[in-house]
């Protein structure tokens, strides 16, 4: 089977998922409970993407000092909460990541 056919099918599936609710908007009235969930989407989805990156090492939860990403991430979280500045948060996170690696 051609790699091209596979790519086109998968491209269409991906697009259909991304287009689903955008296309349906205005054509049906989503239930109230569903509308109430939507404001939580950014925090829920982006935290779900991030937490495993910080806490899991080779599939296991690693809370020790050896898990550099966790502690650098914790400092980034603190910086983000204090100053709410994107560049500063990323900078402090990276700095911590490299400093901790050298310890």
């Amino acid at each position: 089977m051609s790699i091209w056919a596979l790519m086109i099918v998968c491209g269409l599936i991906t697009f259909a998922i991304r287009y689903s609710f955008i296309a349906a908007e205005g054509h049906f009235q989503p239930p109230d409970w569903f509308v109430r969930l939507l404001p939580f989407v950014p925090v829920a989805a982006l935290t779900a993407l991030t937490a495993p990156e910080l806490l899991l090492v080779d599939g296991g939860i690693e809370l020790g000092g050896g898990n550099v990403r966790l502690w650098a991430g914790a400092m980034a979280i603190l910086a983000a909460a204090l100053w709410r500045n994107t560049v500063l948060t990323i900078g402090i996170g990276f700095l911590a990541f490299h400093l901790l690696q050298r310890l």
Partner: protein, 230 residues
């Protein structure tokens, strides 16, 4: 604000994410070639599928000769979380012509959504909603361009980036920079804690299903807390 300014705002907001996306693009290019995908197809996949983790999986499945139905199903599951983004931005795009909806749906990725959403939430001083599509277009286009360039680089160079730089850490760091300032209520804190815990507990599930279920758990936990107070 003009459309041009809104576009540039979206573009600027996605730039820090490119730092983290670029290494993934390069690595994808390398892995696709190693799996036996021709260079042209490997590059084309970045515009036809345009979904990082799904492309990694497809490269592996294609290399292993997996059947079409299985590969397509796996890609559908991996990208299920994008339906949540679709629902989240749909009200902002309701009045646009169809060509805008098609374009913005095509460009709707984790990173582009994350970069744009802080500017789309209603708040005093925020750009008016009539420019939401230009902001999303700016972040979507920026990410798209960065992904294409890094994929081509991976196919052309054919070698891994040095691992010690930790460039891939830029992605979680940027998500932290975006999410933490958004958490300004107990309900949102509970949302984040629930989503994070479930994502870790279910990380072993195939096809990134854990991510989708964790996001759902976060939504339900946050909304339940709001509902109880009313």
């Amino acid at each position: 604000m003009t459309p041009r300014q809104a576009f540039l705002l979206g573009l600027r907001s996605v730039l820090p994410l490119l730092l983290g996306v670029a290494p993934f693009g390069v690595i994808y290019g390398v892995i696709a070639l190693q799996s036996g995908i021709p260079a042209l197809a490997a590059v084309a996949m970045s515009s036809i599928v345009f979904a990082g983790s799904a492309q990694f999986l497809l490269a592996q499945l294609a290399g292993a000769g997996a059947p079409l139905l299985l590969s397509a199903g796996a890609v559908g599951l991996i990208n299920l979380r994008h339906a949540l983004y679709s629902a989240s931005v749909a009200p902002l795009l309701a009045r646009l012509p169809r060509r805008w909806k098609l374009l913005l749906a095509y460009l709707l990725t984790d990173e582009a959504y994350a970069a744009a959403i802080p500017h789309l939430l209603p708040a005093p001083g925020r750009p008016r909603r009539e420019f939401a599509h230009w902001i999303l277009f700016g972040s979507g286009f920026g990410l798209w361009a960065g992904w294409q360039v890094s994929t081509v680089a991976g196919v052309a160079i054919g070698a891994q980036l040095p691992a010690g730089l930790g460039l891939d850490f830029a992605l979680p760091l940027t998500f932290i920079a975006i999410v933490v300032p958004m958490i300004d209520s107990r309900a949102l804190l509970v949302t984040a804690l629930a989503a994070g815990c479930v994502a870790i507990l279910l990380a072993a599930l195939p096809y990134k299903l854990g991510l989708f279920l964790a996001a759902l758990a976060g939504l339900i936990a946050g909304a339940a807390l709001i509902g109880r107070r009313q």
